[in-house]
């Protein structure tokens, strides 16, 4: 039987909340970014391509540390944030930012593949029929790249569930506030007497991931059939 403490339930709820929020916050940026990379040419495009892949290659702890240097009290944006009364470090917002940054490349990559598979002539048709770029984006490009968007979102969701390195640095381990499942398991892992509790939480983590991946497969197939 699963042995879960109230703090564990908190961790599960928090993990899901952080992952969903990171996904929701990143989607608009991800779509615009993918659109620019797929359909527009501009000076310095190469830099954008490299920048979006950077978090994939950096160790998450490095990302966490850089975020801390940026958003911390003594960081580059620190004084600005403090003046505005915004507190990010060691709040759940930091956990969302950590997950969003780490998962962004996966999101953009998937959406881009979806967008690139659209027949260019369709987009030309849309324009000649009177639709400006934003209209074409909303009525033609987005519906046709839906499978890419969904694939990217679920991938990002799954990645967020497992995010640890950046999260622990920038959001800290605060039960009920920022302690997501990986952080809770880490805490258990340091303690010699919590084997059973740790295992229970692991089982829950695996179950959630399976559900996310299963949904991703099913939805993906549905869209492929429709198109």
């Amino acid at each position: 039987m699963l042995a879960l403490t109230p703090a564990d339930y908190d961790a599960v709820g928090l993990s899901i909340k952080v992952a969903l929020t990171a996904m929701a916050v990143s989607l608009p940026f991800g779509i615009v970014y993918a659109y620019l990379l797929t359909f527009r040419d501009f000076k310095g495009k190469v830099l954008f391509e490299v920048a979006v892949n950077l978090p994939l290659t950096l160790p998450p702890v490095v990302i966490g540390y850089l975020l801390l240097r940026l958003l911390g009290k003594q960081g580059w944006l620190g004084p600005l944030l403090e003046a505005a009364g915004i507190r990010i470090i060691f709040t759940w917002k930091a956990a969302v930012i950590a997950s969003a940054v780490v998962g962004f490349p996966l999101l953009v990559r998937s959406i881009r593949i979806g967008m690139e598979s659209i027949d260019r002539q369709m987009i030309q048709a849309s324009r000649t029929l009177g639709a400006p770029w934003y209209d074409t984006l909303a009525t033609v490009i987005l519906p046709l790249s839906l499978h890419g968007i969904l694939a990217g979102s679920s991938l990002m969701f799954a990645r967020s569930l497992g995010e640890f390195g950046a999260t622990i640095i920038v959001a800290g381990n605060i039960p009920g506030v920022t302690q997501t499942i990986p952080l809770a398991i880490y805490e258990y892992a340091s303690s010699p007497t919590s084997e059973e509790l740790a295992m229970s939480l692991c089982v829950v983590a695996v179950a959630i991931s399976l559900v996310a991946l299963f949904l991703h497969e099913v939805l993906g197939k549905k869209l492929v059939r429709r198109n």
Binding site: R127, T128, L129, G130, L144, N227
Partner: protein, 351 residues
């Protein structure tokens, strides 16, 4: 419609330098693959920007490098029918048709939805998705979609090239009738001379990215006669067939043509090559060809190493060709009388 274009654009492997002015409602653009026809279409529609030049439609300047004008594609109101229909797969037929229509302000909508659906026979297809349509249905919907956007000019870029012969000549009447009924001028791009002759009166010939000449489709066909392996194609629109002796007899002016490839449909278009018409100085005693007519030579012209003769039989005209030697032997001159013969099997039916 008055079109004035003078554009230059350099691509990696190809440069386009087109300069022409033409007026008319049904204009053709003729050229081989790779001659630059599609590029010209893209430049006129605003999908690509020329390096320099000017595009003016009916006095409206759409592009001018000198005056820094570049009207974006979505505001040029030039609709395109492509070779591949490019219908939106996530919308049904009705939504596809109405895509451009919805984006026009009400006062500028000059095409009525019901009328168009009726002309293109799309009533039964409206609720269907676009993924299971046949080739012909696809192109009719694509055409409808373009026309419903009430464009000031319709560009048709090889719209028939992806269709089989049967279908091609079924769609051509739609293309013309839609343009006539709704008053939308078009530019018809193709590499097929036959299609060109059925669709357009004037034609621009494109080669190597430049406008090689500007002429009428008929003159173009005649000038190509000597070069083409099929000669000059006489296009005959015939009606009212009756069966006769295993053949089909179609009314042709005061005469009748006997054709083996006919069918029971009320109307049909036939091709008869200038190479298949045999000329006699005198009426042959007996001849296996079932079509034999007395005609007068209206004029002759040179085409490559052949001589073409325009023959008038009753009210109808046919073009025949022969070598210079043959023309000399028969004494083919303007005004002389000859007999023209061709077999019932020489005709090819279009569509």
């Amino acid at each position: 419609m008055e079109i004035r274009v003078d554009v230059k654009k350099r691509f990696e492997k190809f440069t386009i330098d087109a300069d022409f002015a033409v007026a008319g409602e049904r204009i053709g653009v003729f050229g081989e693959s790779g001659s630059g026809k599609s590029t010209l279409v893209g430049l006129m529609a605003g999908l690509h920007e020329p390096d320099q030049g000017e595009i003016v439609l009916d006095g409206d300047c759409l592009f001018s490098s000198r005056n820094r004008i570049n009207v974006p594609a979505e505001r040029r109101h030039i609709a395109i029918v492509f070779q591949q229909p490019s219908l939106f797969p996530h919308l049904n037929v009705r939504s596809n048709l109405l895509y451009g229509y919805k984006r026009r302000i009400v006062e500028q909508r000059s095409v009525d939805f019901e009328a168009l659906v009726s002309v293109l026979h799309l009533e039964d297809l409206l609720a269907r998705g676009v993924n299971n349509l046949s080739g012909g249905e696809n192109q009719r919907v694509a055409l409808g979609r373009a026309v419903l956007a009430s464009p000031r000019l319709l560009l048709m870029d090889e719209p028939l090239s992806a269709l089989g012969d049967d279908l091609k000549f079924q769609i051509i009447p739609f293309l013309r009738s839609v343009s006539e009924q709704f008053g939308i001028p078009f530019l018809f791009i193709s590499h097929s001379l036959v299609e060109m002759r059925l669709m357009a009166d004037k034609v621009l010939v494109v080669a190597g990215g430049r406008i090689a000449e500007q002429t009428t489709t008929d003159a173009l066909a005649r000038s190509r006669m000597g070069l083409s392996p099929v000669g000059y194609i006489n296009l005959l629109k015939l009606a009212s067939p009756r069966r006769l002796d295993g053949l089909f007899a179609y009314k042709w002016g005061r005469e009748e043509l006997l054709i083996s490839a006919g069918n029971d449909k009320a109307e049909a278009i036939f091709e008869l090559s200038s190479k298949d018409i045999i000329l006699f100085k005198q009426h042959p005693e007996a001849i296996s060809a079932r079509n034999l007519f007395k005609c007068t030579v209206a004029n002759t012209f040179a085409a490559g190493n052949r001589i073409g003769a325009e023959l008038v039989c009753g009210e109808k005209t046919l073009v025949a060709e022969m070598t210079r030697q043959a023309a000399a032997e028969l004494g083919v001159t303007e005004g002389c009388e000859l007999f023209a013969a061709f077999k019932a099997s020489a005709f090819r039916r279009l569509g």
